[in-house]
Amino acid sequence: MSQTNSNCPNCGGPIVFRWAQSVQTTCPYCSSILVRTDVDIEKVGEVSSYPADPSPIMIGTEGIFENKAFVAIGRICYKYENGGWNEWHIVFNTGESAWLSDAQLQYAVTKVTPFPPGFDNITLNVGTVVDANGVFYTVTTVTNARYRAVEGELPFQFWDKTDCRFVDLRTPDARFMTVDFSEKPPLLFVGKTVTFDELKLKNLRQFEGW
C-alpha cells in the first residue's frame, strides 16, 4: 500500500494517507477534516465529537471478505431514530475499496455499483420488489438518517451533510443493497450481509470487561 505523508494545515501533525485514492481524511490530533487537493491538504471542517458508538471495528482493523484481506481506513457515522451505525471504509490488498457497515453489530459489505437498467424510475417504499439484473430485491427499510461524524480516509469529500435518506433492500439469500440518496444522483451499494465470524477480524477495539 502506497503511503503519502504531509502535515496537518491546522496543527502541523503528521498526516498519513494509506490509500492512494483517498480524497479526505481527519487529523488524528486535532480532528480537523482535511481534503487533499492537487498540491496540498486543506482544512474544510472539524469533527466536534464522536458518538459513543458500539462498533468493535476501528481504523486499522483487518479482516477478510471473499478471500481478500482488507483494512479499515475510515468511516462515516450516521444517526437515526433507532440508533446509529457506521459505514467503515475498507480497502483490500488488491487496491479496491468497499464499505463494511456495522448497524448495532449487524454487518454487511457493499461496493458502489452502477444502477441496473430501469432502476431509476422506481419509487422505493417498504415492500417494493425490484429486479436487479434478474435478482429480486425487496425494500425492507427506509431510513432518514443524519450525518454524525467522519473519521479517517474516505474516497470522496464527505463532511457537510445533514439529512441522508437510505433505502435498504434484501433477498432470501442474504444479498443486500443500499441506495444512498444523499448524493445527486443517488449511489447504489451492492453486497451481502455477513456474520462477525465470517469476517475474521483482527486488531479490534477493546471493551471493558470483555
Binding site: P28, Y29, M58, N82, Q106, T138, T171, R205, F207, W210
Partner: protein, 446 residues
C-alpha cells in the same frame, strides 16, 4: 499522541426520575433502559439521558430466571444478559405471558432467549429475507431450505422491562407478530409502523440454559406442547426398520425350522372298511418314534364319493399306555347343477398332535359310516383309506399368526407421533382470530 478510538466502557449515570444510579453494559448499543430503582424507562440513545416513561405505581413485577449481568455461552460464544421483558398476548379472552432476555456480546451482537411455561428458545435476527410460500395450501414462508408453516398471528404487548435494550422499548407497546413453525425451529416476523423484522428461534431444553449460565436449582418443567418443540417421538423410520428386521428373522426361523424338521414317515398302511361288517375297530402294528417331544401328524386319505366316514383314533404308547385320543370326520360330495359342477369337503385330511415323547406306539382305529337303507338292500358300502403317520413335521402357520403383531410397535409409534403433532397444532391460531375472541368460543379456525 494521535487520538485512539477509546476503549468502550460501562456507562453510569443517575436516573433523571429518581436520582438513583443506573449502569449500562451495552457499550453504546442501548437506546433505552429501565431504571432498576423506579422502573422508569429512559432514553439512553444520546449523551443526555431523558425520561421516556414513568412506571405505573402498581405494576406487576416479573423476576428474570437468568439474572441481569449473568454471562453464559450460547452457540459457542460468550453473552451477557443485559435486558429482560415480559410480554403478553390475548387468546380467547385469556392473557398468555412469556419472558424475553436480551443477550449481548460486543463483537457478535445480540441474541435473545424466550421462556414460556418451561419452554425455551434461542433467537437470532434473520438478515436475509424469508420468501412467502405454502405447505399444502397452508400459509408458510421458506428460508434457507426450510419451510415454516404459519402457526400464529398475534399482537404481543410489553408489560414489564428490566435492563437495557438496543431498541426503544416502551411499556404497553404492541407489535404485530406472525410465527411460522418447522420444529425445532421457528421464524417470527414483527411489524411496527416502520418496518418488518425477522428472527429465527431454535427450541432449546431448559437444562442447557441452566448449564450455559451456571444457574442454581433446576429449570422449570415444561408444560404442555410448545409450537416448535421437537416431537419427542421422532421419526417412525427406526421402528419400521426394526419391524423389517424382525420379519426377516421370523422368515429365516421359519425356513430353518422347516428344513430342520425331519418330517419322517414312521407308519403307513392301507385299509378298507365295509359298514356293518362286524367289529370295526382294530390296532395297527407298533412303530418307533425317535427323539424327544416332537409333533406327530396323522394323515388320512380316502376314496369317499358323496359320503362321509368318521375315524376314531388313539395313538397309544406301548410301554406306558399313554393314549392320545382324537377323531376325524371326512366327507366328500360332488355333483353338478345349473351353476356347473361342484364339490364339497375333501377326500383327505390330517390331524396334528404336539409334544409326543419318543417311544414305541401303535394306533387304535375305529372307523364308522352311516348305515343306509340302500346298504341293507344292495350290500354294504366299502371305502378304501390309507393312514400315514409322520413324525417331526414342519409347522408354518404360527408364523403367519405372529407376523401381524410385528406391525403393532411401528403403528403405535405413528399414532404417538401424530398425537403429539395434533397437540402442537391444536394451539395454532394462524389468522389471529383467537386474539379477538371473547373466550366463549374456544374453537380454532384452522
Amino acid at each position: 499522541m494521535a487520538a485512539q478510538r477509546p476503549q468502550a466502557k460501562i456507562r453510569a449515570f443517575n436516573c433523571p426520575n429518581c436520582g438513583n444510579s443506573v449502569q449500562l453494559r451495552g457499550m453504546g448499543t442501548s437506546l433505552s433502559a429501565a431504571c432498576p430503582s423506579c422502573l422508569s424507562i429512559l432514553d439512553t440513545s444520546d449523551e443526555r439521558v431523558r425520561l421516556l416513561q414513568r412506571a405505573a405505581k402498581k405494576m406487576e413485577r416479573f423476576e428474570p430466571k437468568i439474572p441481569l449481568g449473568t454471562r453464559g455461552k450460547v452457540d459457542g460464544k460468550q453473552y451477557e444478559v443485559t435486558g429482560f421483558q415480559h410480554r403478553t398476548i390475548m387468546a380467547d379472552g385469556v392473557e398468555y405471558g412469556w419472558d424475553e432476555y436480551v443477550l449481548y456480546n460486543p463483537f457478535h451482537g445480540f441474541r435473545y432467549l424466550t421462556e414460556y411455561t418451561g419452554h425455551w428458545n434461542d433467537i437470532v435476527a434473520v438478515l436475509s429475507l424469508p420468501a412467502p410460500s405454502d405447505v399444502m395450501g397452508h400459509a408458510a414462508v421458506s428460508h434457507e431450505d426450510r419451510k415454516f408453516k404459519l402457526f400464529q398471528t398475534s399482537n404481543p404487548t410489553t408489560k414489564f422491562v428490566l435492563g437495557e435494550f438496543p431498541w426503544r422499548v416502551k411499556l404497553n407497546d404492541t407489535v404485530n407478530s406472525k410465527d411460522y413453525v418447522d420444529s425445532p425451529y421457528s421464524l417470527a416476523s414483527e411489524t411496527d409502523d416502520n418496518e418488518t423484522t425477522w428472527s429465527r428461534a431454535q427450541y432449546i431444553p431448559g437444562k442447557e440454559i441452566w448449564s450455559a449460565f451456571n444457574l442454581k436449582g433446576s429449570p422449570p418443567t415444561p408444560q404442555g406442547v410448545y409450537s416448535n418443540q421437537p416431537n419427542p417421538y421422532g421419526s417412525t423410520k427406526p421402528m419400521w426398520a426394526m419391524m423389517v428386521v424382525f420379519s426377516i428373522l421370523l422368515l429365516l426361523t421359519m425356513i430353518v425350522t422347516s428344513f430342520m424338521a425331519a418330517g419322517e414317515t414312521v407308519f403307513q398302511s392301507k385299509y378298507y372298511f365295509v359298514s356293518g361288517s362286524g367289529e370295526p375297530s382294530f390296532v395297527t402294528p407298533t412303530f418307533e418314534m425317535k427323539g424327544g417331544e416332537k409333533n406327530v401328524e396323522v394323515e388320512i386319505r380316502t376314496d369317499l364319493q358323496n359320503d362321509w366316514m368318521y375315524l376314531g383314533l388313539a395313538l397309544i404308547n406301548e410301554n406306558t399306555g399313554t393314549a392320545y385320543d382324537f377323531g376325524k370326520e371326512i366327507s366328500f360330495y360332488s355333483g353338478s347343477d345349473s351353476d356347473g359342477s361342484w364339490t364339497e369337503g375333501d377326500k383327505a385330511d390330517s390331524v396334528s398332535i404336539g409334544g409326543v415323547p419318543g417311544g414305541k406306539y401303535y394306533l387304535r382305529v375305529e372307523p364308522d359310516m352311516e348305515k343306509t337303507l340302500g346298504s341293507e338292500l344292495f350290500g354294504s358300502k366299502r371305502v378304501n383309506y390309507e393312514i400315514k403317520v409322520r413324525r417331526d413335521v414342519a409347522v408354518i402357520w404360527p408364523y403367519f399368526v405372529v407376523w401381524p403383531f410385528l406391525l403393532i410397535p411401528p403403528l403405535w409409534a405413528i399414532l404417538r407421533r401424530y398425537s403429539f403433532e395434533g397437540k402442537r397444532w391444536a394451539e395454532s391460531d394462524p389468522s389471529g382470530n383467537a386474539a379477538f375472541s371473547s373466550g366463549e368460543d374456544d374453537e380454532d379456525d384452522d
